[in-house]
Amino acid sequence: MTTTLSKPSEVGVAQSPRPGRSGAAPRRRSSVVSRQKRAGWWMIAPALVQSVVFITVPTIAAILLAFTDYSFSGAPNFIGGANFVELFGDIRFRTALVNTVLYVLVVVPVSMAIALAVAIALNQKIRALGAFRTAYYIPVVTATVAVGTVWLWIFNSGSGLANGVLALFGLSPVGWLTDPNHALSSLMVVGIWQGLGAKMIIYLAALQGVSPQLVEAANLDGANRWQVFRFVTWPSLGPAQFFVLITSIVGTFQVFDLVYVTTKGGPGLATNVLVFDVYNNAFGSLRLGYASAETVIMMILIGGFIILGRRLQGANTHD
């Protein structure tokens, strides 16, 4: 190993220093690089194979199925865009679409804003940082099945915590999950609550990476707190914002477990969201092709939201 590596360069240098160096170094580098590349392919292969077999192939299959009438049994027949035409006349799908978009539009910005505020507060060299961090992170480590059952209890119209608190202020009880006007908002509260901790941790980590020298310099120049935040902290958060935005949009669009455990899409269609509707069409009605068409629309929507979010952030992102 050592001989192959050192030989050409030594010879090259020994013969004539200047042309030798410029001639031999690229050659040596190219042999190293090709060995590097070979090793690289071996090392990336397992992850690549795993992702192709278990993610890429199923995704392509789902897109192809969207143009068929596949229903678990029998061969899929190609039916063109019929599924998509039917979808836009389907009241269940249209409600799910509106509900999901509303849910994303509320949950993503609100939870990002609160998470950033909490992270900034926790970044003030405070005592018991570990305890606070843990408290805000607990909803993240708790499984949605557990979270769902606890909130089901809290929103319980008879003996739940939420109505108990309202009663303390002399307010009349609310059918949090049973009233169609409140059900989706109640789930939004749970969604914001649940996703806060993960975003907060990323912001907190990013804030610790903000250069103290820059902040000091800004302070010396007479910048007030808001100006320091706006012109020093905020731009340095750019890459973290990108990561938080993408993971939140994708994660929020995928809300399923919560709906499955708490409302099952009800009352009526009040909390019917896209993934839940997909699940129902695929495993309830066994209409796999139809469900796949729905997921294709969802993928396009997620892509659109990410582009939109990037545009909105664009002005403030550094890279």
Binding site: K37, F54, P58, W151, T295, I302
Partner: protein, 308 residues
């Protein structure tokens, strides 16, 4: 260096402003702590409620009370006896350890290659993994099920993957498809990117092989990354619900979350205290994991967004 600062402190006029600033900060701090504490309470209230309910009697659960009249520790014993929780627990442990071990092995390698080795199409591969981040799991659920069912030469399948059940109802099926999410490859890449390439070059000069550079030189430097990835993957595996629901049919393989959901299947006859006791026991290991790993975890997260 030292003399000017002591000189500044010696001047009385310099002390007064700092003192005044300290005082003003203290008032602000009280507000800060107050807001943070109220917020923290809101965050853990549902969790507290769960723990308190676990100690209550069936009757108490029917109306709104915070504290149980009598702390019924035997609810935990009762919950354990009503469902095979120990078995669910063991199953979750096997899945979490299996997925995390595979993830740590293959996602770090892939992340290292994407960050530091100039393979052809490296940029394309990076974008490929980022794109995969955006594919919701629910979308691929059904095709994935069909693929897992037709793994050749497993579960009575022939070489073309027909005739048997493949990886359904097996540890393989539970662990392998979820063992290397693209998000972990991307995370690992973000960490390796922040290491100086001079380190690898120096090791290469000393005749260290490419795998040796990855394994012995670079990977020990990204320990926070390994902890971050491990914590994320353990949590994901521990809290997994939909996939095990689809591919297992017996208690032999079912993990905790599934056990809990089955436990609460019939809303009319849910024994809330038992369910909450089971839920509390299921959540506790993950809370402890975070408590002990959080410092490294936050440090690890600090690298995630550094270089796009």
């Amino acid at each position: 260096m030292t003399s000017p600062s002591t000189a500044v402190q010696a001047i009385p006029g310099a002390i007064v402003p700092t003192r005044r600033r300290k005082k003003r900060v203290t008032i602000g701090r009280v507000a800060l702590y107050l807001v943070l504490t109220v917020g923290a309470f809101l965050m853990i209230a549902p969790f507290l409620w769960m723990i308190l309910t676990a100690f209550k009697s069936e009757l108490e659960v029917a109306r709104f009370t915070w504290l149980p009249a009598v702390w019924r520790w035997d609810n935990f014993v009762g919950a354990m006896q009503t469902a095979p929780f120990l078995q669910y627990f063991r199953n979750s442990l096997v899945i979490a350890v299996g997925e995390t071990a595979v993830t740590l092995a293959i996602c770090t390698m892939a992340g290292y290659v994407l960050s530091s080795i100039p393979i052809r199409g490296g940029k394309f591969l990076l974008n490929y993994f980022i794109t995969l981040l955006m594919v919701p799991f629910q979308i691929i659920l059904v095709p994935l099920f069909l693929i897992v069912k037709s793994v050749p030469l497993f579960g009575g399948n022939d070489i073309f993957g027909q005739g048997g059940t493949g990886w359904l109802n097996s540890w393989w099926g539970l662990i392998v498809p979820l063992a290397a999410a693209p998000i972990f490859t991307f995370l690992a890449r973000q960490f390796y990117v922040s290491l100086p390439s001079e380190l690898a070059d120096a090791a290469r000069m000393d005749g260290v092989g490419e795998f040796g550079i990855f394994w012995r030189i670079m990977t020990p430097l990204v320990k926070p990354a390994l902890i971050t990835i491990a914590v994320f993957q353990i949590e994901a595996a521990w809290n997994g619900f939909l996939w095990p629901l689809m591919i297992t049919t017996t208690d032999d393989l079912r993990p905790l979350q599934l056990g809990l959901a089955i436990f609460s299947q019939n809303p009319a006859s849910i024994q809330w205290p038992y369910l909450m006791a089971g839920t509390a026991l299921a959540t506790l290991p993950m809370v402890l994991l975070f408590v002990f790993a959080q410092k490294q975890f936050v440090e690890g997260m600090a690298n995630v967004g550094l270089k796009g």
